[in-house]
Symmetry: C2
Subunit: 199 residues, 2 copies
């Protein structure tokens, strides 16, 4: 009965199709325009069929969020492995984070933007922790004062993240900004924080 597997494959395909359709709509019309019926139109089904694959609309968003975190993690890891020096690694990692935010704008908005439930997100989404851990490790390598206190690395991590996330947020909504200035802010601020990392 190989038909069982064929059917399963078809089901997997429609599931992927739903996610792809959602992303396509969002890229064309933005998050506000995403609706179950539009997704159904794209995959050439009617809306209720989607509920055979996802519990509800939020389930779709959650899955896309998960994909986003996995992709971001890969990019950041890749950036780290492209350098040997610890400082260069950390800088490259944040630049990769930055690039991801704009290359995968829709994903980033979903992951850090119009979030609904956030407190419970980290529990449901271990994938989100992976990227965080990468940054923590990189920061702790730069901390000379041993043993590294949890508070110190946490503080440094949040300082970095705040700056870059803030810069990203501002640029995602206020498109008019100059890209050169962004790069200047980004690089100089990262260097400045790295410099003061052992204060």
């Amino acid at each position: 009965m190989g038909s069982k597997e064929r059917i399963q494959r078809q089901k997997d395909d429609t599931r992927k199709g739903i996610l792809a359709a959602a992303l396509q709509i969002v890229k064309q019309e933005g998050w506000a325009a995403l609706s179950m019926r539009k997704i159904a139109d794209v995959i050439e089904y009617t809306a209720p069929i989607i509920y055979e694959y996802f519990p509800n609309k939020e389930g779709i968003l959650l899955e896309l969020t998960r994909q986003g975190y996995i992709n971001l993690g890969l990019k950041v890891k890749e950036a780290r492995d492209s350098k040997t020096n610890a400082e260069d690694q950390l800088e490259a990692m944040w630049l990769a984070y930055w690039d991801f935010a704009f290359e995968e704008k829709e994903y980033y908005q979903l992951m850090y933007g119009v979030q609904v439930n956030c407190c419970e997100l980290y529990k449901k989404m271990p994938e989100a922790e992976y990227t965080t851990d990468l940054f923590y490790d990189a920061i702790e390598k730069l901390l000379t004062k041993q043993p590294v206190s949890e508070d110190t690395s946490c503080l440094k991590y949040y300082t970095f993240w705040s700056l870059i996330h803030g810069l990203v947020s501002i640029n995602l909504v206020q498109k008019g900004a100059n890209d050169e200035i962004n790069q200047q802010i980004l690089r100089s601020a990262i260097k400045a924080i790295i410099k003061t990392i052992n204060d």
Copy 2:
């Protein structure tokens, strides 16, 4: 005919009532739960009456945004005037900005959060520029290299704003964070940026 004025006063009251009702609903149930019909319920009218006072829902949000910018401007100015030293002024101003974000959480979310139209916002909202100008002035006072180039102060302003806005955003969605750590990040980062303001 003093009744004309009495009627106008009543109209103004219902207009304020609409805004107050909207804010009340948002504070109780969040921005996602705000609807025209709910507002109507609170002010004890039916929904269409709101359209006598605002062109549409966005009009209400726009007015609340305006109020937010005015309030923020006042708070920041107040903070500036509480100090004499230029460095202390700038620090106090950003701390006031920070406090506003959490004291008036709903306003801040509206002003910088789930924004819809942003490119056209600054044209329609001169109030938004007031606060920006305050910060620009404070930053330029600290710049020793004269004449002050537009690019430099812009760069410094965005660095500050990114950091603080990022920190605020993260804390508005991820409530679990420790407030002491936030204050530590905030103060140390502000001081660090101020220190490197003439690099």
